[in-house]
Symmetry: C2
């Protein structure tokens, strides 16, 4: 065989992989929908997909993994994005943006996402699997924030709390959308939820979004003992006006 032929075959094998992966996922979800997750075996899946057992396990370590085929890729994309993030940027905005990367895999295929959501509600083992996936995302965000907050004495605490809050905001909007059966614009809903988290913890919009007019000042007058949230509300409306 010539080198060219070998290269040709290697390329064909590489191109065939995603197709086989997708065929396995499609076969698995069809069977999960028809008979339930527990009642479907890996043998059933490979028979329907027309491939061998070894092909299945080359793509997925277990039956649970076929339910979350995008998660390893999503985590890798998120980690790479944060590794490249600008040290001068708002770290809270950066972790919000990182969660938007993962959201795209849900938004790209609403029917699949909704079907998986229903499956994870029904099968406790899948719910547990999902919790560990979410925990790994949260750790990736917290690690980024810890590095950025390293100079603060409470940096690690802030990092853990903000990562948890950002993931909770993201998942609140995502779950609401999934429960609705995938109606409406999930990216808009997640933006709005992340906005709440970013406003709570972030430095607010930077100069790029809201040009500073240096000469202007805001004066807030409050009674001592005023609840902090009322003061913040007052300052916010003044600054945003």
């Amino acid at each position: 065989m010539s080198d060219l032929q070998k290269r040709g075959r290697g390329q064909a094998a590489a191109a065939e992989r995603p197709a086989m992966r997708e065929a396995l996922v499609a076969a698995a979800f069809r069977l999960f929908g028809e008979r339930g997750f527990e009642q479907t075996t890996v043998d059933d899946i490979v028979t329907l997909a027309g491939v061998g057992r070894r092909s299945f396990f080359r793509h997925f370590p277990s039956k649970e993994d076929v339910v979350f085929p995008d998660h390893e890729g999503g985590l890798a994309a998120m980690t790479a994005y944060l590794a490249d993030a600008d040290d001068a940027g708002d770290p809270v905005e950066q972790v919000c943006d990182a969660t938007r990367l993962v959201l795209r895999t849900y938004a790209a295929n609403p029917a699949f996402s909704v079907q998986r959501y229903r499956l994870t509600r029904q099968v406790p083992g899948l719910r547990a699997y999902e919790l560990s996936v979410v925990w790994r995302y949260e750790r990736a965000l917290a690690d980024h924030l810890r590095a950025r907050f390293a100079v603060r004495s409470d940096g690690a605490l802030r990092a853990d709390v903000i990562a948890a809050a950002v993931v909770a905001a993201h998942n609140h909007a995502l779950r609401t959308w999934l429960r609705s059966g995938g109606e409406g614009d999930v990216e808009e809903a997640v933006d709005s939820a992340l906005g709440y988290a970013a406003k709570t913890f972030g430095d607010g919009p930077g100069p790029a979004q809201a040009p500073v007019r240096e000469e202007e000042v805001v004066v807030v007058v409050a009674r001592r003992g005023t609840p902090m949230w009322r003061v913040v509300q007052g300052v916010e409306s003044a600054l945003e006006a």
Copy 2:
């Protein structure tokens, strides 16, 4: 058998239960420490504890459950506490207090808590179990906050974010203490971490903690475009002065 004898036996059986439960937990942890979690069977545990297999499963549905013997009780205590909470109180302070109830079970037995922490780091199955336990705590807090925030249009989002942030703050301090081998005052460390979460989301100390002196006012002057956290910092130091 007379009614009195029956009652006597019933009481003895009830009193024997916690002791048997403790004996099973002690035997299990001794064996987990000596041979590892995976290499220990339920049969090994009941043999060492000197009881039958049925006694084990009366107390614990699985080998995983014996690692977290206090969690069902902790969750029940937390739920009962929140159900009784005063509707006029600060809901964020209430969920912080609810997590302190769970903390007591860790603080009451540092050696056991540290041993369990090390075990959950080593066994992925236990880590997954712990994540679902933490998720149930978080849901209990979020449910309380959702009910209290029901009038707000963003109430459910706030509830989910605050519950996640409070659990993350609690667990940050708890994990730091566990990693240190149980050195120092964990309740103090958790108070301080929860204080950060409460300050971020809560209404601040109410009149009972910080009497309002109505005549005093605080004036904050900030340039438009000042990052919100700087403004909050300024307001905080002014109000706390």
